[in-house]
Amino acid sequence: MKQGAAMGAAEISAGTGFRRSRREQRFRRLKRDKWLYILLSPGLLYFLLFKYVPMWGVLLAFKDFQPFLGFWKSSWVGFEHFRTFFQNPDFFMLLRNTLVLSLYNLVFFFPAPIILALLLNEIRLSFYKRTIQTLIYVPHFISMVIVASISYVFLTTQGGAVNEFLFTVTGRKIDFLASPDWFRPMIILQTIWKECGWGTIIFLAALAGVDVEQYEAAVVDGASRWRQTWHITLPAIRSTIVILLILRMGTILDNGFEQIYLMMNALNREVAEVFDTYVYALGITQGAFSYSTAVGLFKSVIGVVLVLGTNWLAKKSGESGLY
């Protein structure tokens, strides 16, 4: 009954001397593992229905989709929607907003968890360290709607705490929520508040793996703590940093739909609108299915190219990379 795990395909069955065909062997394995395949089926169905059917649905981008005609009868238009999109002034606005937000994220947010983890790593009082960690993880579990809500409640000019304070001190109020100048700092601050603490987990895990003997040897050699950090700690977490950087590169065109959507309004739209919110506004609320699918597809393809490209670069420069 029990078959070996790695069975040769054209094995000769010893007892009968009967040479089994490849197909028969396969059938026997299928039969033997039938319960495994039955277990696998709901998950497979899920991936097919909710992941692969939509992938096939990107063909809409090349059609002029008419809801009453359906997918099949709608006519093909080739790259028409892409051409319209690239000629639209919105394209440059979206590209600029998306890239600027990603750049801000990369410069202001990306290093934050690394620095925080390095500081936490220097704490030797384990009770204190655990307490701080418990506190800084909290915001990660709070929904983006709550984060945006808290921002609204504090920043509004109608009785918001921050503006009340500003008014008492300077006699003026700043309309943070409706000002294009404040949109980006606001988004980055929210991201730092929400995810910075959580981001330390992965670096702290990498730091925990560093060999203590290296530090001891360094101390014997008279290395200061700063030198230890520079020559032992940082190189030890370099590959983790590179991997996270690769992952971030792949999502450079993703700016977090929920956050932007929640903080965007008519007054800051000029700096706030990004690919995802644009796709939502045109596709879901205005029903321009084909055009917005084309915009979405453009974004995904660039995303994949960016991940594969950065991964390739990382490998070239001697890091292990993701794939």
Partner: protein, 294 residues
Amino acid sequence: MAKRYRSAREITFDVFNYVVLGIIGIAAILPFLFVVAGSFATEAEITKRAVFLVPTTISLDAYRFIFSTDTIVRSIGVSLYVTVIGTAVNLFFTVTMAYPMAKRYLMGRNLILNLVIFTMLFGGGMIPTYLVIRELHLLDTLNALILPGAISAFNLIIVKNFFQELPAEMEEAARIDGCTELGLLWRIVLPLSKPVLATFTLFYAVGHWNNFFSALLYINDPSKWPLQVMLRQIVMLSQSAAGDLSSMDPNFVQPPEQSVKMAVIVVGTLPIMCVYPFLQKHFAKGVMLGSVKG
């Protein structure tokens, strides 16, 4: 750690480090504490003092107001339903798929693994997914908040890796004793995987409770809005669907808009705060399991 020479500079750094991290730790939860304090305050207090942690008079008016109509209560019901049923669906789908995928001898295993990984790299995007949901007649049903996210590919792979690491000898022994494949999963593998399953239960549950995007896309009927969408309506769009002044007794003073908003925020966060202590115990280990391999 070995006793070592500490210069004045190092001591200064240590003091600085402890203080800075203390401030960061407090800053992480401070905004929320302000909101909690504000939700219990009276209108006079909020207009008088900008920020405070302890209101001078504790008032439950804001809470009485938001619970005076069933708007909030109904959306809490929707969120609870989606969280409980959704998490159960997540676990069922994730475990049943991860278990066969953990078997190295399974025919077609690599193909399936690659198909799953590919979905992490490329997806159909918002509109094609929306149209699929529409074709399946899931729009405006709570199933639209549950089924499209039944499996997270990332979680699936972590659970699969965990199953794969379980000792194979135990499995063989159970098989010799006549245990069936399903019995094996139910009686051997799942009990051994409790810590991982606990972690993912909590992650999936938090995800459902916090979900806003799917509801925004797929639910138009306000009576089926989960709490997060209702929150946005009340706090950001200032639509006071919650609360009914006429149903209040004549002595009821209308609570300040600010404290009502703060009370809604507190209600939306409370369940997370309740499970956080349990969550906290598990996640650091759970997240690391099989995820990053340096």
